[in-house]
């Protein structure tokens, strides 16, 4: 906790910088409005106005925070379609949209991690896969996801797959890669001496994998899972953008930009960031618990 003060200082500095930027970004509109009304704006009035516009160019931090609060807790507790009144999540709340995106993220992350681990095991154990899979995996990541996402969704839609699965597949597409790279490195982490020792026991390839390579790869696995889950979230959001999805954080971003609702966009962005940070932190906790139990905690 001795890091708390420096961290809070940095956060405070960023928020202050943000507030400072709000004034010039939104001043033009405030002055235009005043001119049209034939009024003269004092500096204090100008600053106050830039902080409270309903569709500012750059919303102030407190506006985003208020919107986040209103579109989550307040909406679910008191909203007409909120959880307290209907028993189901409101389609106007970020909790609902966050969950839609999160479910696709988690499914994509699970498939992507499993695929990444399977590919890494194949690459480490099979010479042909070693030579052939990695270039394709790298090539797959050089294609802009925004270009390929609509095609995946259209193609899957044509064969009758809609909803969660196409989004999860795009999440998979982004999240398998860090796991492959990390796990290939991790599974190759044991020294030659360790492998020689296994050979003196005449251990089978599966035994070497289970008893030596897999435990050695654990630190690498968790590091790559952290990257992968963040990438999976990006994939799920991107998958919601080009299709006019009606639900999900991506849909909120999209409708926000259609209607110039910058506050809504920013709060959706922050919801995504909070979601990603929470998931990464959760993996971090699992990592610490696992490595501690393995006697490898640092």
């Amino acid at each position: 906790m001795r890091n708390l003060l420096p961290v809070l200082t940095v956060v405070a500095a960023l928020i202050a910088l943000w507030y400072v930027a709000v004034v010039p970004m939104n001043a033009q509109w405030a002055q235009d409005q005043a001119r049209r009304a034939g009024q003269d704006l004092s500096l204090a009035a100008l600053v106050a106005d830039t902080m409270s516009q309903s569709r500012p160019r750059l919303p102030a931090p407190h506006q985003v925070a208020t919107e986040l609060w209103n579109s989550t807790v307040v909406e679910e507790l008191t909203g007409r379609r909120g959880f307290m009144n209907t028993g189901t999540l409101s389609n106007r709340s970020l909790i609902y949209h966050g969950w839609v995106t999160l479910s696709a993220t988690l499914l994509g992350f699970a498939i992507g991690s499993a695929l990444g681990i399977a590919l890494a095991v194949g690459i480490v154990h099979n010479r042909a896969m070693d030579a052939s899979v990695m270039p394709w995996a790298i090539a797959s990541q050089t294609i802009p996801i925004l270009a390929i996402a609509p095609m995946i969704i259209v193609v899957l839609n044509a064969i009758g797959i809609t909803g969660l699965i196409p989004k999860a597949i795009i999440s998979t597409y982004l999240s398998f890669f860090p796991v492959v790279v990390g796990m290939v490195k991790g599974l190759r982490a044991p020294e030659q001496m360790q492998l020689d020792l296994m050979k003196t026991y005449s251990a089978s390839g599966a035994q070497v994998l289970a008893k030596l390579r897999w435990p050695s790869a654990m630190p690498y696995l968790f590091a790559s899972l952290k990257v992968a889950i963040a990438a999976a979230l990006v994939g799920a959001i991107v998958a919601e953008l080009p299709t006019g999805a009606v639900a999900g954080l991506g849909a909120r971003l999209l409708s926000g930009s259609y209607y110039g609702q910058t506050v809504q966009i920013w709060s959706a962005l922050f919801a995504a960031a909070i979601l990603a940070a929470t998931m990464v932190a959760l993996i971090g906790l699992i990592q610490r618990a696992t490595l501690r139990r393995m006697g490898m905690a640092t």
Partner: protein, 262 residues
């Protein structure tokens, strides 16, 4: 040879050439040697003399270019698959994610011993290397010497008759080393194993061995084989005896002779 026991390791005209970027390296040249059951044979020589390579050939970790070698009457590969030997490397190489008991158990798990058998054997060999109280500790909680003892326990856990040791105490300080040498002799006396021991320490080789194989580099070959007249029972003080000093002298002469060719 002072031993009437049958040979467990027989090497005839072994040659091994490594292909490197700087051209071929003759790691072993015409190496012929018999090691009898229950012997303690040390291989000594400067780096590059092929002592480790020879041990690795016995263990089927390297394949000779020509010549024949049998271990327990089998090819090295068949002997390895029959679990004929335990191998101790220079580094203890314990798995950091396993306790000491877990590390010793590793070969037993791989070889498919039953759970109760595993427990019994772990207990037995940890007692043998005087680590009984440390079964539940993790490797980083032990000193270097204790870690190496644990790795010896690991090599002893399954019933291999042959123990191959590649500079097992090379990274340890002299005081710890003396103690481990004493313990190793005691262990050898109690278990009746055949031991092949690579070292670059003359006192260590003389103190431990029934036979000392002196090797020299470029190409790696045997220059002298010395039968030790020392009794099997060896207190540390034996190293001040005239016999001991005489053998050490002969080993040193052998090593020097190998270097004169340079």
């Amino acid at each position: 040879m002072s031993n009437e026991n049958p040979a467990v390791i027989t090497a005839r005209n072994l040659n091994l050439t490594f292909q490197t970027n700087d051209g071929p390296v003759h790691a072993l040249k015409d190496v012929s040697l018999d090691i009898a059951k229950g012997e303690f044979v040390s291989f000594i020589g400067p780096s590059g003399c092929g002592k480790t390579t020879f041990l690795r050939v016995i263990a089927d970790l390297e394949t000779p270019s020509s010549g024949t070698i049998t271990v327990n009457g089998l090819t090295p590969e068949a002997a390895r698959k029959a679990r004929a030997y335990g191998y101790v490397f220079q580094a203890a190489g314990l798995y950091p994610w396993r306790t000491i008991a877990g590390n010793v158990k590793l070969p037993l798990e791989i070889m498919g011993y039953s759970r109760s058998e595993q427990e019994a054997r772990v207990e037995k060999v940890l007692e043998l290397v005087e680590l009984s109280g440390f079964a539940r500790k993790f490797p980083w909680q032990l000193s270097g010497g204790m870690q190496q003892r644990a790795s010896i326990a690991r090599a002893l856990a399954f019933d291999a008759d042959i123990l191959l040791m590649d500079e097992p105490f090379g990274a340890l300080d002299e005081i710890v080393r003396d103690r481990l040498n004493e313990q190793l002799l005691d262990l050898w006396a109690r278990t009746q194993k055949t031991i092949g021991f690579v070292t670059h320490s003359i006192p260590e080789a003389v103190y431990l061995s029934t036979r000392i194989v002196v090797m020299s580099p470029r190409p790696g070959r045997i220059t002298d084989i010395i039968d030790s007249p020392l009794p099997r029972e060896r207190p540390l003080e034996i190293r001040d005896s005239p016999e001991f000093i005489e053998i050490a002298h002969r080993v040193r002469e052998g090593l020097r002779a190998g270097h004169l060719d340079d």
